[in-house]
């Protein structure tokens, strides 16, 4: 009787994850806990980092069948929304409903700053190819420079789904680190005189302009780059809900309940792609380094075009607003405001920086369309 009892206990222990788990899984659980710590304690993009980190944890629990690739598991079904390219455009719908494109319409030149900040995507693409990544993998790595999570997930899922976990974690981590990464680059590339520039107040934008804008953008971008249409059209549909003022209930749902539910599904299922065998490779390290490179170059591209605009306008444009062209709404705009106020405490750049910031969202969606149309 006693031996039977001890044998049963021994069998249970031997069958448990404690014994059968591999060291790589334990390491990934430590990584997941570290990410949870960053999200909860340091508040680094907690809305996305927390579900992603928990997804990483789930994917690496031995024999729990909770990774995104384990058929019949819960997360597998949630992952279908990523695999089929449903969640990122829906997230864009919510973002569109939350975004005011007024500063961009008031100052259309800020679209150029949103274009310049995409420099990081394409230069990193070259760097990744030089390091031996395939063109598809290089495209997925380069899109980290767009600093736009849903776009990064959408492109990676289409070009290199096996890198999804690493790229999503790198993209969201760098977006959270915007206030740390960007200021040194901005200060390095500008003089104090340039940072002190006070810009003219933006004109008020009429409701009609705000309603026409999403329709124009959808038509233009979708005609130009059909591959970018899912992202751009949903972004603009959300914005039309907001600006039309006739579907307030739908607009509120898109801004709150819908985007929150999709964020949970997207975050957990993307995190759950980071199984130890996919994540603990030298390639992940390469992705993290190249992602930082992409992000820094994007910031530099925006600031440098800002400097060109400063010279061309005779000092009317503060080059700091260029760094906001890397999307990461609204954090990148807040960084422009903060660095501007350090140089001139009476300067308020936030609304001026919001123009390039939302232009960056459109710019990164266009860049994604180019990568997809040339590499898919």
């Amino acid at each position: 009787m006693f031996w039977q009892f001890t044998n049963t206990i021994a069998d249970l222990v031997n069958a448990s994850g404690f014994v059968r788990g591999q060291w790589t899984q334990y390491l990934m659980i430590i990584v997941a806990c570290l990410l949870i710590y960053l999200a909860v304690v340091k508040k680094y993009e907690p809305l996305l980092l927390l579900p992603i980190a928990f997804g990483v944890l789930l994917a690496n629990l031995p024999f729990a069948n909770l990774s995104s690739y384990d058929e019949k598991g819960l997360i597998y079904y949630l992952y279908q929304g990523v695999k089929l390219g449903i969640y990122p455009p829906l997230i864009f719908l919510g973002i569109g409903a939350m975004t005011d494109f007024g500063p961009l319409i008031a100052n259309p030149k800020s679209l150029l700053l949103g274009a310049a900040a995409q420099l990081g995507i394409f230069t990193t693409f070259i760097g990744a190819v030089l390091l031996g990544y395939t063109p598809k993998e290089a495209g997925a790595i380069g899109i980290i420079g767009g600093a736009d999570g849903p776009t990064a997930i959408f492109v990676t899922n289409n070009l290199a789904p096996h890198l999804l976990g690493s790229i999503a974690i790198a993209a969201y981590s760098y977006m959270a680190l915007v206030p740390i990464i960007q200021p040194p680059i901005m200060k390095l590339l500008t003089t104090k005189k340039e940072r002190q520039v006070v810009m003219e107040q933006l004109r008020p934008v009429s409701k009609l302009e705000k309603v026409i804008f999403p329709i124009f953008v959808t038509i233009l971008v979708s005609f130009f780059l059909p591959d970018a249409a899912p992202l751009v059209s949903m972004l603009m549909l959300g914005n039309l809900f907001r600006e039309s003022g006739v579907v307030e209930r739908i607009s509120k749902t898109a801004q709150n309940e819908m985007i929150n539910i999709i964020t949970i599904f997207l975050g957990v299922s993307v995190g759950a792609t980071a199984k130890a065998e996919n994540f603990l490779t030298p390639r992940t390290l390469g992705i993290i380094v190249l992602g930082l490179f992409a992000f820094s170059l994007g910031t530099a591209g925006g600031v440098l075009l800002g400097k060109v605009m400063y010279w061309l306008t005779g000092g009317k444009v503060n080059p700091l607003i260029g760094s906001a062209g890397v999307s990461a709404v609204p954090m990148a705009a807040r960084v422009s405001q903060k660095v501007g106020q350090e140089a001139n405490p009476g300067n308020f750049l936030l609304m001026h920086a919001m123009g390039p910031n939302v232009a960056g969202v459109i710019g990164s969606a266009v860049a994604a369309g180019i990568l997809l149309s040339m590499l898919k």
Partner: protein, 126 residues
């Protein structure tokens, strides 16, 4: 290394297309803004004329026995009354600020019964 020409090509084409798309968008916004501004100005002008007609429609009837100040010279009191009347006629939530630049007498076009009703309303208030 075989992929380097592809990478360079994609980078060049990519940046060019991003710039072209966003410059085009910027240009469309600029044009539509100008177009809407012209249309708005035209409508504002039309509205001003309309408002002028309705606000400055002052009866030139000598039999009214109302103390109408003489026209032709600026009268601050009259301007204040006009402004008060316009504001009273607007919705309380309206944040629109107004400025009366000029006023002039126009030909009376209201029907007689309309004038009679208006006079009755004014008389009641007085």
């Amino acid at each position: 290394m075989d992929n380097i020409p592809l990478a360079l090509n994609l980078t060049f084409v990519g940046m060019t297309v991003v710039f072209i798309a966003l410059i085009l968008l910027s240009f469309i916004i600029f044009i539509s803004t100008k177009f809407l501004a012209v249309k708005k100005n035209g409508r504002a002008k039309k509205n001003t004329t309309k408002d002028e007609a309705s606000i400055l429609e002052i009866d030139d009837d000598e039999d009214m026995n109302l103390d109408i100040p003489a026209f032709g010279r600026p009268d601050e009191e009259l301007v204040s009354v006009m402004m008060a009347a316009i504001k009273a006629g607007m919705s309380p939530e309206s944040q629109c600020s107004l400025r009366i630049k000029s006023f002039r007498r126009i030909e009376q076009s209201s029907p007689v019964w309309n004038r009679a009703g208006r006079l009755e309303q004014i008389a009641k208030k007085l």
